[in-house]
């Protein structure tokens, strides 16, 4: 159960409808894997830390670059050329010392995904490469772990909560990367964070069930027009069928 300190720390969210000490205790016992800690994954991790999740596992390879600093909110300008996950670790632990943070200076791939998903209760896909997203999708399907896929481009965002047997998976929706795809994407930190917050809300719903997750939908966010819509998804792909 929760300590007295936890009860005080989280007292404001314990007033949420349907969110009681039981739901907080579920969060406290939960482990989330966040794939990449850039503009979106960093904001997901920070909000999970604020909500009081028990453990966050971060996977992101490489060192901080100058041009990361417009959006990667867990970083620090003092940490250029140092591992991003180290900066992320410090920021998260400074914010909430009571959570466990495990870092991996590597990106998700088909070879490491099973290990990285060991003892994980939920995963957040926030990587800029489709091969990482597809690897995480495959790993989560195999292990039956809920996946919250969060993506953005310019003023647009998409959040897809995925759970095997209940929803289409990422490959049901996009079986391959798009034509004319470019690695560099236009990004404003505020849009990344906005999409990340919706993804985090979906993740907390999926973990605690305090409110119904949007399973079977893609949440579409248009920050230019301030519009949020749900796209109803129907497909079943070979990867889902294989794992079902």
């Amino acid at each position: 159960m929760l300590s007295n300190k936890d009860k005080e720390t989280y007292s404001w969210q314990l007033d949420l409808p349907g969110f009681s000490i039981n739901e907080q205790a579920i969060l406290r016992k939960s482990t989330a894997l966040v794939s990449r800690v850039g503009g979106m994954g960093g904001a997901v991790a920070l909000s999970l830390a604020a909500a009081g999740i028990g453990k966050i596992i971060l996977a992101h390879q490489g060192n901080l670059r100058q041009d990361d600093l417009n959006r990667q909110i867990l970083m620090s300008g003092h940490s250029l050329n140092k591992p991003r996950v180290d900066s992320a670790y410090k920021t998260l632990k400074n914010f909430n010392h009571d959570i466990d943070v495990i870092t991996h200076n590597e990106n998700i791939n088909v070879d490491n995904v099973d290990d990285l998903l060991s003892d994980v209760d939920i995963a957040f896909g926030c990587a800029p490469l489709f091969k990482e997203r597809f690897a995480l999708n495959g790993g989560c399907l195999k292990k039956g772990i809920p996946l919250i896929d969060c993506s953005m481009y310019a003023m647009e965002g998409r959040v897809i909560p995925i759970l095997i047997n209940q929803t289409p998976c990422l490959k049901c929706i996009y079986n391959e990367p798009p034509i004319h795809w470019k690695r560099k994407f236009p990004v404003l930190a505020a849009v990344s964070s906005l999409v990340a917050q919706i993804g985090t809300i979906e993740g907390i719903k999926a973990l605690t069930n305090f409110s119904k997750p949007s399973y079977g939908s893609m949440i579409y966010i248009d920050a230019a027009q301030y519009k949020i819509e749900k796209i109803n998804l129907h497909a079943v792909c070979s990867e889902c069928s294989t794992n079902n």
Binding site: R36, G38, G39, M40, G41, C126, A127, P128, L129, F130, R133, C150, S151, M152, Y153, A154, E156, R158, P168, I173, Y174, N175, E176, P177, P178, I179, H180, W181, K182, F185, P186, V187, S192, M218, Y220, E229, K230, I231, N232, L233, H234, A235
Partner: protein, 92 residues
């Protein structure tokens, strides 16, 4: 019938447009509607929707009135609607 078509993600950037509006006089299959839509436009739109063998690309999510379309040829557009083309995005 008035049909509004929305272009999302990198597609909107590539064709420099977010929306088209067309009027059709009689019901039409979605695949024919999209084929007609690409005529007279830059080939990029066609590339996003159809591959070199003129098959529908698996990398594009198409929704009609916010419902994912599985089989383009099975859908007939016979009333006012909104069609949205979502190429995958991966920005984080």
């Amino acid at each position: 019938m008035n049909i509004k078509i929305h272009y999302r993600g990198q597609l909107a950037n590539h064709i420099d447009s977010t929306t088209d509006e067309i009027t059709i006089a009689s019901p039409i299959s979605l695949i024919d509607l999209l084929t007609n839509l690409t005529k007279g436009k830059d080939t990029t739109l066609n590339d996003f929707i159809f591959d070199e063998n003129n098959n529908f690309r698996n990398s594009l999510l198409i929704a009609v009135d916010n419902n994912q379309v599985i089989d383009l040829s099975a859908i007939t557009i016979d009333k006012d609607c909104e069609i949205t083309l979502f190429p995958p995005i991966a920005g984080g």
